[in-house]
């Protein structure tokens, strides 16, 4: 065993010396290879982290949501509509929700204005999300003046800022008193944007949704499981799109790697001929080439993956996040909880390391089984 280990150590020694002799070429290949792994791993880590955040956070959303439709368009629910629902077996609470959008022409940002029925701020006070505070430069105690669609100026005092950790759901949120919300949008007290139903037994959600549809036919019911499925599908789709874009880079790299790995240069063929002539057998040459492929691809994989991990979880995916933002002026800070999916890690590792390593073996084997004299003379 010791003999085998020292033999491998000598082979690695020789391989590294050979790579160092072709320094520029080896380094170039390593940089491009690590760059491709970085791109793929960043996409994978970013979408995986967003998917697990969405699952964990949205698991606290209301079980059933009720929207009213009128002539195919979203309309407001009224207290009379909620009264029509009456008491539903298995539903512990029905709560009308008041929320709406406000476009701020000064900053070109759209805010979500919300007024919870309970635990809302006092009259004239607001709680604001991290994104709003960042865009408007707000801190606790500051005032925020918003001009409503009717033209009136409404001034609010910032009572609380939501933390950057909640940015993913609350970046654009302004929470206010229901009376302030009604005054701002000029809507009566008994008007709701939609309604949230709390269901005691999760198994009854679908039957309760059907009952709701029967009692108020002009409504649309959205279940929490549908919300969760939507976000799962969203990140699958987005990951697919990013990977489709990245596939061009991968294809370019594959051509480069194939060219580098599968075609031996004249010098490399001569080197193999000399090694054979001084006593190396075919197995030694192949082991040396295997080490060459493993060292380059392994180093590129670990450097690329480590870079991607730091990029996504330390620098908030600064290079790929702009693809998310579109025209949004106000966007969340992507403070993501680090998570690495073992299956994705292994798949990426196998797909990047294995093909390159194997591609280095075939031409080396062909050169190694040829007569050393012919190889050195370059007659084959």
């Amino acid at each position: 065993m010791r003999r085998w280990i020292s033999r491998q150590a000598l082979l690695i020694d020789y391989t590294l010396s050979a790579l160092a002799r072709r320094g520029g070429r080896s380094l170039g290949l390593l940089v491009v290879y690590a760059g491709v792994v970085f791109l793929l791993a960043s996409t994978m880590l970013f979408t995986n982290a967003l998917r697990s955040e969405a699952r964990a956070i949205l698991a606290h959303s209301p079980e059933v949501l009720l929207q009213k439709l009128k002539a195919g368009r979203h309309s407001y629910l009224t207290q009379a509509d909620l009264d029509r629902l009456g008491r539903l077996r298995g539903v512990s609470r029905i709560e009308g929700r008041k929320w709406g959008y406000f476009f701020d022409p000064v900053f070109g940002a759209t805010y979500t204005l919300m007024a919870p029925a309970s635990n809302s701020p006092g009259r004239g006070k607001i709680h604001v999300g991290d994104g709003v505070a960042r865009t408007r430069g707000l801190s606790t105690g500051d005032t925020l003046a918003l001009r409503s669609a009717a033209g009136g100026l409404h001034v609010f005092t910032v009572e609380r800022l939501f933390s950057p950790e909640s940015s993913l759901v609350a970046a654009d949120l302004i929470v206010m008193h229901p009376a302030d919300w009604g005054a701002f949008f000029e809507l009566p007290d008994d008007v709701f944007t939609d309604a949230a139903l709390s269901v005691v037994n999760p198994l009854e959600v679908r039957s309760i949704a059907r009952k709701v549809g029967d009692r108020i036919p002009e409504t649309r019911v959205i279940l929490r499981e549908e919300i969760l499925r939507t976000y799962d599908a969203l990140f699958d789709w987005r990951e697919g799109l990013l990977l489709a874009l990245a596939s061009m880079a991968v294809a370019a790299f594959a051509i480069l790697a194939w060219n580098q790995a599968s075609g031996l240069s004249v010098d490399e063929r001569r080197e193999i001929g000399i090694l054979k002539a001084i006593g190396w057998d075919t197995r030694d040459v192949l082991t040396m080439k295997l080490w060459e492929g493993t060292l380059i691809s392994g180093a590129a994989f670990f450097l690329g993956f480590l870079g991607a991990f730091v990029h996504v979880f330390h620098f908030e995916a600064a290079l790929i996040a702009p693809a998310l933002k579109g025209w949004s002026v106000l966007y969340p800070r992507l403070v993501l909880t680090p998570s690495v999916d073992a299956v994705s890690f292994l798949t990426l590792g196998l797909l990047t390391v294995l093909p390159f390593t194997l591609a280095t073996l075939v031409p080396a084997w062909r050169a190694a089984i040829t007569d050393p004299d012919e190889v050195m003379r370059g007659t084959t």
């Binding site: 955040e53 759209t110 919870p116 909640s166 919300i227 976000y231 998310l324 949004s328």
Partner: protein, 121 residues
């Protein structure tokens, strides 16, 4: 066979200590391990908490992630309907850039309808 280097002890004079490439590889692996430990420690120290996001979602009944807010059907994706991206106009085009990279809610897709009938319109 791989040629074995001559034994330095058999030659005269002090032994030659050559810096071997495998030692450089060992150092590189050590540096990589230190980097990994540093990254892990840093992330453990600054590990973000989902507690406030979960509390807000629960108390305010939030339904969507604030990933994109350039259009209402992208900000509250799960509450959108099929018409809003086209501005309620029969031949209008959906023109927000993020709309191109965000798929419609699963419960609005035609393939999803038979399995979940009267709830989804």
């Amino acid at each position: 066979m791989v040629p074995v280097p001559p034994d330095s002890s058999s030659t005269s004079g002090p032994p030659l200590h050559r810096f071997r490439p495998i030692q450089a590889l060992g150092i590189a692996l050590g540096v990589l391990a230190i980097c990994l430990v540093a990254v892990a420690l840093d992330l453990a120290r600054t590990r973000p908490s989902r507690a406030e996001a979960e509390r807000l979602t629960s108390t305010l009944g939030l339904t969507d992630l604030a990933l994109v807010n350039e259009a209402r059907y992208l900000r509250h994706l799960s509450l959108a309907d099929l018409h809003s991206p086209f501005q309620d106009h029969p031949v209008a085009l959906e023109h927000f850039p993020a709309g191109a990279v965000i798929a419609p809610p699963t419960h609005l897709r035609v393939s999803a309808r038979p399995s979940a009938p009267p709830l989804c319109r």
